[in-house]
Symmetry: C2
Subunit: 284 residues, 2 copies
């Protein structure tokens, strides 16, 4: 099995991938292929170059990863699992703190450490990279460059950990999803392996009348189905027009969820089921 992940080596995506593979006991015959960015990782799955792909979707400090949400809407893929990974950003460099003039990382990581950067490196130049580990790889070149990345990246690219745990809030987790080629099919219901069966949908509520979102989530509420997440994302049609990304607890195999989705489908202009899947959480 080929697993496409956001690379290079040492990335949090790699940690997520290794964690998921071990939880699913799929280590044998599995190899990781590293991609430059989230877009390329999706493309490798859509084209069949990777059997599955692992990409970040949400962080506990910075919120949703916009590009992942957009690609979930545009692409014919299915979510088959999720894994939550603890994040511990460090300031890494070959040089010393006084040398640092440039700080590099993925935009999400820069956002997660924005207070730290403002307080200590107000005048540094900020550069974005496709992943945190890519920043670490680049930081190996000059002493005046620092990367915000994991301690694994420090080891991988021979950098010193100048400051550990620099995120703005103590608790920092990222949720990754595991995707495969092709649209979700009705027979692909999650079979509960633990308590965390989850179903993800996108609903396009085109009417601008009061109560339309209310009616949609009411179909879940009246069946006691717990919403674990609701996120709006611009539809790109016009300002104030949104798609809603909704995660609920339970499997599409459950009668009440089947019912709720049936009635929601009648009320929206588009309903896309992204998948019905199990989840894991990695320890620190």
């Amino acid at each position: 099995m080929i697993v496409g992940v956001l690379g290079p080596a040492g990335s949090y995506s790699e940690k997520a991938a290794k964690g998921w593979i071990s939880k699913e006991s799929k280590s044998e015959g599995t190899s990781l292929v590293y991609y430059d960015d989230i877009n390329d990782t999706f493309t490798s799955v859509i084209n069949g170059d990777s059997d599955i792909g692992i990409v970040p979707i949400e962080n506990s400090i910075e919120g949703s990863v916009g590009i992942t949400l957009d690609l979930l809407l545009e692409s014919e893929i299915t979510i088959i699992g999720e894994i939550v990974v603890p994040i511990g950003h460090c300031l890494l460099s070959k040089g010393e703190i006084k040398d640092i003039k440039i700080i590099m990382s993925h935009p999400q990581a820069l956002g997660q450490c924005s207070k730290f950067i403002r307080e200590h490196f107000k005048n540094a130049e900020i550069r974005t990279t496709g992943s945190t580990s890519h920043a670490a790889k680049l930081a190996n070149e000059f002493c005046e460059m620092a990367a915000i990345a994991s301690k694994e990246s420090a080891r991988e690219y021979g950098l010193k950990i100048l400051v550990p745990n620099i995120q703005d809030w103590e608790k920092n987790h990222t949720r990754f999803i595991i995707i495969k080629q092709g649209k979700w099919k009705e027979d692909e219901a999650c079979v509960p392996e633990n308590d965390t069966c989850k179903t993800s949908i996108i609903a396009d509520i085109d009417e601008d009348k009061p109560g339309s979102l209310y009616e949609i989530i009411g179909e879940f509420a009246k069946r006691d189905i717990n919403l674990t997440r609701i996120e709006s994302r611009p539809s790109k049609r016009s300002l104030g027009d949104y798609m809603f990304y909704i995660d609920i607890e339970g499997s599409t195999g459950d009668a009440d969820i089947k019912d709720a989705l049936y009635y929601i489908n009648l009320k929206v202009s588009m309903l896309k089921v992204l998948g019905s899947y199990n989840g894991y959480k990695l320890d620190n």
Copy 2:
């Protein structure tokens, strides 16, 4: 009146500020002060260095501006108005297209043009700046640098427009809010000047039971109050725990909105009214 905006000159924030000042007929005795980033603009209002501040909150392609949402929660400020500005990003440089090795802009603008960048400048180095106009100012230094910014920025910093209208979707608008010092007070209801009176709140729904968000928006739905926006933002407490940012049509002076807010306040652990205000839209 001192108006704090995200600078330097030529920024979309400046366009928003000038537009709002003219709509409100407050040009006389008004001067703009430019700040490096959104954080500094907020601080200038909180400290009283600026009488009002103008900051971006939402874009029709990239969605919410996370730092603005976080600062609205943390700060004692009131929203007193909004203005929607059409965005037309251009690729600007002193050099030619073949020279470009570095592309700079604000992370939101980079996100709004991500397809363009991927297609035409896959190998360029991406650098983020505090604003689009700051990128234009920097691009004046080297021919190998390009900025993604407005045509006004091109004029301001002597750059050529290499490619106009490079955003990934034809329609691109950013909504800016006008903020002033101090918490919102009950007597600060919007007096409708046109049809666009709006009220913005943040609700912290701490209980993880099915239906809690449903009950909150039900208070609006059953009074036929239109939700124009609902956005979740991580509470930073743990993954899966959110604050909800909700915009509704109407003024806190309306009896039904007063009622709805009263009952919502009983159901949530925190309700913050950000303001009740009029809005404008600038033409292309």
